[in-house]
Symmetry: C2
Subunit: 423 residues, 2 copies
């Protein structure tokens, strides 16, 4: 069972905008049992639009498009597809009233132009648009189907889920896609690849994609199967093998972000965290607070670019900065300890480094980052502390992202080893 | 002069990865005088790859592809295109030696598989790959040209600039694309649209795209012209008309980010800034420090989630928080004043609000954010202060991004009105 996706709109052929709807549509189509065979982007040009729909209909059973349903004269997808499929367009009073009502609710009168959006090809189902004026269209044709959706993601997504999904589910094959999302931190891509590629080669009914981001590798094993429980069993087996090969570098098998995993650990252990950042400039705090409910574990953070603020906010002794330098293992650890004490958190994190492009030297090059954590020690126990120096590649933004990832991973690994003290 | 772009690779037909090379390629092609007519994504499937190249070659003079040049058996772009154009593939010793050398430099022996990457179609130019093993190929054919590029952006981009651009420049028409990038803050999209659309309608030789992001609208006026100075003059005229219509909401005509514009103002006025953030959790500090050289103007920042840290780090009186609530105009302003004093900066910014999803009430709903700034006042002058309440739409991440944008914009507008005090 195959589908193709067509994105219509001249703005998608400029250097400024990508078709992102196709990622959402692909995920949904896969779950319904449809492989995406090709994706197309065409401008608002009758000949190209016609040709791309005609070609797709020759190859596959389901053609889904987005865009070109707006009220302006550029938006011609509806008309061109109706003509291609030899359907007359008729004004649908029900749709027209709904559009007029929408404008009325906003205190405006419907411009005449918008009446075009109420034109419906013969034999088509109307797909209700809860969030905009353009209805979608479901047009069955010779045992195949053409689905026209509006371009804005906030209109397209609910329309697909509510209107298209149930209709497509009745057409989908028995073979569906089952998938997992594994994420790995603290291991370079080449090593992940070396460890996992011999594994997935042993599961011929599956495909596995490896994607690399800053400080993170994602593995996407996928199984197409008519038998849900067999597919799940296969994915469980693969996941288990991956887990053995990757060890504790594997931090999720369900696509969670690293900050979400750290947030969960903090909450489960009733721990709290505070951060003192230099070169990452607030990015670590921003990631930790991007998780809803973060106020339950995030105590606070400081961005202490200058030495006096490292001393004032994170209790780093001025003599230490003078003797070791602001970018040093000792200062990172002092920042972690100091911010923990200052905020009365159970865990403190300190980051100091050189993000570039300038500020590097032979001894302390751009990309050098010291990361440390300090946890409140239980009575009569040694301090729970860790410090590590990294040398991250790439530009300023990439170095900073890498550093936040490494810091989160350090906290995650701490929870793997240690039952942190209750406070 | 038209071109089409083909992205080859089954991973681009999964829900996990988009073809992003086409944005770079489109910008470059446009500057060389080529319109992009269509974009295609195909998987590693001989029939589809063949068909999409054949179709594109029928329509346009320049076909650029990325991906499918790797060493594995999936990567068949080279072979399929050679067959389509009826060219024999020959092993090129020079390329083979370069690939072997690359492996040797990494201390490894070239796997036999990689020898495929040294196969070159008859009549093709080899495009040197500085950063990978796969060379690109320039294949002239019946007055047209097919350009095969590797998929990884860090390989593709320098190859395009160094190897493809000079060759294409000799083929490009006289008509080139000239463009500007205007950015607008502090004005809703519908109002920007209302003000600018009557203007660009008066410039028939141009196209203008409007894109909306969180707290920002971008305008891209574009002119295709054989006459550079006429195009520049037209763009200057359009830009001037846009400027008049948008006033000081327009913050750049050259595509700068808002944080870069604020950074420049700070540097030009020898001002420094410090921030105290609650709901934005470090994002504002992260944006301000993402600009290279930020240590010259960024003093420091605190993320004071809890009330005691608002008091400790940003000198907000505990009584004020008790009487007005942590999310209030008074507390935002006290944060701005306090962080400025604490860090001895010339400008302090305070943000407090409710990013959601929980924590809202009827009186203080999710999305409510108070933003304030306080500047060091010259002697015998009133305090330079500003405070504003916002109600941002959308999810947590969007509210937070909106809030950082509004805060940066508040600082930018301050510099428009005020010659800030020297310190």
């Amino acid at each position: 069972m195959f589908a193709e996706i067509i994105a219509v709109g001249s703005e998608l052929l400029t250097p400024y905008r990508l078709d992102t709807n196709s990622l959402f549509l692909t995920a949904e189509l896969n779950r319904l049992g449809f492989h995406v065979r090709r994706k197309h982007v065409v401008g608002d040009n009758d000949e190209d639009v016609r040709e791309v729909f005609a070609g797709a209909l020759e190859r596959v059973g389901v053609v889904v498009s987005c865009g070109g349903l707006g009220p302006t004269t550029d938006d011609r997808t509806r008309e061109i597809v109706a003509e291609l499929l030899r359907r007359k367009l008729k004004l649908n009073d029900h749709v027209l009233r709904a559009i007029q009502e929408r404008f009325r609710a906003l205190g405006r009168t419907m411009p005449d132009l918008n009446a075009r959006q109420a034109m419906v090809p013969e034999g088509a189902d109307i797909l209700v648009n809860e969030r905009g004026t353009a209805p979608g269209l479901w047009i069955p044709h010779d045992g195949k189907v053409v689905v026209l959706l509006p371009g804005p993601p906030r209109e397209l997504q609910p329309m697909f889920v509510q209107e298209v999904k149930p209709r497509l589910a009745r057409r989908g094959g028995d073979v569906r896609l089952y998938t997992r999302e594994l994420r790995v931190a603290g291991m370079p891509e080449s090593e992940v690849d070396q460890r996992v590629s011999p594994i997935y080669a042993q599961f011929p009914g599956s495909e596995t994609t490896i994607l690399a981001a800053a400080g993170e590798i994602q593995l996407h094993p996928r199984v197409w199967s008519a038998d849900e429980s067999a597919a799940m069993k296969l994915l469980d087996e693969m996941t288990e093998r991956f887990r053995l090969a990757l060890g504790e570098n594997l931090y999720t098998t369900s696509g969670e972000t690293l900050e979400s995993v750290v947030a969960r650990e903090l909450q489960e252990h009733r721990s709290t965290i505070a951060v003192a950042e230099s070169c990452t400039g607030g990015m670590l705090a921003a990631r930790l607070t991007n998780v809803p409910g973060s106020s339950s574990y995030f105590r606070g953070g400081v961005v202490s670019y200058s030495n006096d603020l490292k001393t004032g906010w994170a209790e780093v002794p001025a003599e230490l900065i003078a003797s070791k330098g602001a970018v040093s293992a000792e200062v990172a650890l002092a920042m972690a300890r100091g911010i923990r004490r200052q905020t009365n958190a159970t865990i403190g994190v300190g980051i100091t480094g050189i993000a570039g492009p300038s500020g590097g030297s032979a001894e302390k090059p751009v990309g050098l980052v010291h990361i440390a954590m300090a946890a409140l020690a239980p009575p009569a126990d040694a301090q729970h502390e860790k410090e590590k120096a990294f040398r991250f590649p790439g530009e300023r933004e990439r170095v900073r992202l890498h550093a936040t990832q490494a810091a989160l991973d350090m906290v995650r690994r701490y929870f793997l080893r240690t039952a942190p003290p209750k406070v």
